[in-house]
C-alpha cells in the first residue's frame, strides 16, 4: 500500500500542477460563464459556415430568381428573396464568408502593425518611443473609420482593399496596449529578476514576457474582431463597401432599410444573424477578459 503511494506520487503532483496552471484556471473560469460558452459555440458555427458556406448555399449569389422577386420565406427560398430576386439565405452564407475574411484579415493587419510598432516603442524607448506614441495620438485624434473611408477611395472597392482600409488605420490601439505591457514588465521586478539571473533579452522576451502578455493580447484581439466586423458592414452602409452583387451584411441592411415597407424578411434574417454574431464575439471577448484577469467578478 505504502509502496503504491510512493510510486504514484510523482505523477499526482504533476497532474495537480496542470490543474493549478494559470491557463487551466482561466479555462475553468471561462467555462463557468454561460454567455461566453454560448458565444463561443456560435462563433465556431460562424467560422464553419464561413468555410463551407459557398458549398452549402442553395444558390449562387449572382443567381437572380426573376420569377420570385421580393417573395417571402418559402421552401424554395428559406429566407425569401430580395428586390432583384437574389436568395437571401445564400446571400447570408456568402456574406458570412466575406465578412469573416475581411474582419479577420483586417484584425490581423492591425494587430501585426500594432505589435511591431508597440514592441519597438516599448523596447527601444527614447526617440522611437516618442515618434510611435505621437503617431498613436494622431490615430486616436480621428476615428479610424474616416481613415478607412479615405483608404477605400484610394484603393478601390474589393475584399483586399477593405482588409487594408480597415486594418491599416486600426493599429494604434494594439500598439498602445503592447507598449504599455512591455513597459510595465520591463520595469517590473520579474524581468529585473530574470536579468539578475543573467537571461538574455531574447530569453526574457520568450520565457518571461510573452507568456504573461499572451492573455491580454488574446483579449484585445477578441474585442478587435467584432469591431472590424462592424466597420466592414458600416462601410457598405455608406456605400463604400463591397459592390453589389457581392453580398455583405452592410449592403443587405442598407437595402432592407430602403425597402422596409412590405418586405420585413429582408431585415429579419440578415440583421438577426449579424446581431447574434456580434453578440457572440463580444460574449467571447468578455468571457476571455474575465477569465484572464478576474477583477469585477465574484
Amino acid at each position: 500500500m505504502i509502496v503504491a503511494i510512493a510510486v504514484t506520487q510523482p505523477q499526482a503532483p504533476a497532474r495537480q500542477a496542470r490543474r493549478n496552471s494559470p491557463m487551466y484556471r482561466a479555462w475553468q473560469r471561462y467555462r463557468k460563464n454561460w454567455f461566453a460558452v454560448a458565444g463561443l459555440i456560435w462563433v465556431v458555427i460562424f467560422f464553419i459556415i464561413g468555410i463551407i458556406g459557398p458549398w452549402i448555399a442553395p444558390y449562387s449569389y449572382t443567381y437572380a430568381d426573376f420569377l420570385h422577386m421580393h417573395s417571402g420565406p418559402s421552401w424554395q427560398h428559406w429566407f425569401g428573396t430580395d428586390t432583384v430576386g437574389y436568395d437571401v439565405f445564400s446571400q447570408i452564407l456568402y456574406s458570412i464568408r466575406y465578412a469573416l475574411e475581411i474582419a479577420l484579415g483586417a484584425t490581423c493587419v492591425s494587430f501585426l502593425i500594432g505589435v511591431i510598432l508597440g514592441l519597438w516603442a516599448g523596447l527601444a524607448g527614447g526617440i522611437i518611443d516618442v515618434i510611435v506614441m505621437r503617431a498613436v495620438d494622431f490615430m486616436f485624434a480621428l476615428p479610424s473609420f474616416f481613415f478607412a473611408l479615405i483608404l477605400m477611395v484610394l484603393l478601390g472597392k474589393g475584399i483586399f482593399p477593405m482588409i487594408l482600409a480597415i486594418g491599416v488605420p486600426g493599429w494604434a490601439g494594439y500598439a498602445r496596449l503592447i507598449r504599455s505591457l512591455v513597459l510595465a514588465m520591463r520595469n517590473g521586478e520579474m524581468v529585473e529578476a530574470a536579468r539578475a539571473l543573467g537571461a538574455s533579452q531574447w530569453h526574457i522576451a520568450r520565457r518571461y514576457m510573452f507568456p504573461n502578455v499572451v492573455g491580454s493580447m488574446v483579449v484585445s484581439l477578441a474585442f478587435g474582431i467584432p469591431y472590424d466586423l462592424t466597420a466592414q458592414a458600416g462601410l457598405s452602409i455608406v456605400g463604400m463597401g463591397l459592390n453589389p452583387p457581392m453580398p455583405s451584411f452592410g449592403n443587405m441592411l442598407a437595402q432592407a432599410g430602403a425597402n422596409i415597407l412590405g418586405f420585413p424578411w429582408l431585415l429579419y434574417f440578415p440583421a438577426g444573424v449579424f446581431a447574434i454574431t456580434l453578440l457572440s464575439f463580444l460574449f467571447v471577448a468578455d468571457g476571455l477578459q474575465e477569465a484572464f484577469n478576474p477583477k469585477g467578478g465574484v
Binding site: P143, F146, I150, I237, A271
Partner: protein, 321 residues
C-alpha cells in the same frame, strides 16, 4: 497662467494634427484612381466640347484646374489647400459647384453635433444609474438584467438598431415616431436612441465595474468607519471616485458616436454632416469630404480637450501636460 499654457499647447497639437490629416487626405486623394478632383470625369463630360471647340475646352479645363490649384506642384497644392482650410475658405464643392461648401455644411453640422452630444448625454444619464444599481445589487437579477442589456447595446451596431427601429416604427407602429427626415424634435428620438444604445452599454458596464472596484478600496472602509450614511458613502465616495475613471472612456466613445452618425443619418435620411460625408465619398467629391472630416475631427479633438479639463478638475492627482 498654467491653464493658458496648457490650452495653448493643446491647440497647437490640434492644429498640427488637423494639418497632417488634411495633408495626408489630400495626397491620398491626389493619387487615387480616376485622377484627382475627378478631372477624367470632367474631361469625358466635356468630350463633345473638346471635339467642337478645342480652344474653349482648353480654357475651361485650365479654369477648372486653376480654380482648384491643380496646375501647381503637389507640395504647393497641399500648402495652398491647408491655408484655405485653416482660414475656413473651403471653396465650392464639386457636386454643386455653384454652392459654397460652407453654405452646404452650415445646416448639416449642428444636426450631427446635436445627435452625437445628445446620444452621449442620454447614455450618461441612463447608463450611470444603471451601472450604479447593477454594482450595488451585484449578482442579483437586476445586475444580470443590466449587464445583459448593456452587452446587447454594446454589441449591436447603431446601424442595425436604426434599421430595426425603421421596421418597428415604419411598419408595425406607424405614425408613433417619424422614421425619416429632420425638423421636429420627434425626428431626433430614434436616431439619438440608436446612437445611445451602444454608449449606454459601455457607460453602464464601465460604471458597474468601476464602482465595484471603488467600493473595495480602503478609503471606502475609512468612510464606513467614520459612520458615513450608506447613500452618502455610495455617492460621495463611491460614485464620485468611479466617475473620474468613467470620464476617460467618454472621449473615445464620443469619437465612435460621430462615426455612428455617418451610418445613422444615412438610414434615417437626415441631412447631417455624416450624410454629407458619405455622399461626398461615394461621389468622389473630395473638397467636400476633406472639409467634413476636418470639421468633425476638429469637433472630436475639442471635445477631448474639454474631457481632459474635466478629468483634471475631478481628479486632483491628474497633472495636465
Amino acid at each position: 497662467m498654467f491653464y493658458v499654457k496648457f490650452l495653448a499647447k493643446r491647440f497647437v497639437a490640434i492644429v498640427i494634427t488637423l494639418a497632417a490629416v488634411i495633408a495626408i487626405s489630400y495626397i491620398m486623394m491626389y493619387y487615387s484612381p480616376g485622377g484627382f478632383m475627378n478631372t477624367t470625369q470632367l474631361a469625358s463630360a466635356l468630350a463633345p466640347l473638346a471635339a467642337q471647340d478645342p480652344a474653349a475646352y482648353q480654357k475651361l479645363m485650365e479654369q477648372f484646374q486653376s480654380r482648384y490649384g491643380l496646375n501647381l506642384p503637389l507640395w504647393r497644392q497641399v500648402l495652398q489647400y491647408e491655408w484655405h482650410t485653416f482660414t475656413f475658405n473651403f471653396g465650392n464643392s464639386m457636386q454643386n459647384p455653384t454652392l459654397s461648401i460652407v453654405s452646404q455644411l452650415k445646416g448639416a453640422l449642428p444636426i450631427s453635433v446635436f445627435l452625437a452630444f445628445g446620444s452621449v448625454v442620454v447614455s450618461v444619464v441612463i447608463g450611470i444609474p444603471m451601472g450604479v444599481i447593477a454594482a450595488l445589487k451585484r449578482n442579483s437579477w437586476v445586475d444580470y438584467l443590466v449587464t445583459t442589456l448593456s452587452m446587447f447595446g454594446q454589441a449591436i451596431p447603431s446601424f442595425v438598431l436604426a434599421v430595426i427601429f425603421v421596421l418597428i416604427f415604419g411598419v408595425v407602429w406607424q405614425n408613433v415616431l417619424p422614421v425619416t427626415g429632420w425638423g421636429t424634435p420627434a425626428d431626433a428620438v430614434l436616431p439619438v436612441l440608436s446612437l445611445a444604445a451602444g454608449n449606454i452599454g459601455v457607460v453602464a458596464r464601465y460604471m458597474r465595474g468601476s464602482l465595484i472596484e471603488t467600493m473595495r478600496q480602503d478609503f471606502i472602509r475609512t468612510a464606513k468607519a467614520k459612520g458615513v450614511k450608506y447613500w452618502a458613502l455610495v455617492i460621495r465616495h463611491g460614485v464620485r471616485n468611479s466617475l473620474t475613471a468613467l470620464i476617460t472612456v467618454i472621449g473615445p466613445q464620443f469619437a465612435f458616436t460621430v462615426v455612428g452618425t455617418v451610418w445613422v443619418e444615412n438610414i434615417f435620411a437626415i441631412p447631417g454632416l455624416g450624410k454629407v460625408i458619405s455622399t461626398a465619398f461615394t461621389n468622389f467629391d473630395f473638397p467636400m469630404a476633406i472639409t467634413a472630416v476636418f470639421i468633425l475631427g476638429g469637433t472630436i479633438m475639442l471635445t477631448n480637450l474639454v474631457v481632459d479639463l474635466i478629468y483634471s478638475w475631478m481628479d486632483p492627482r491628474v497633472k495636465l501636460q
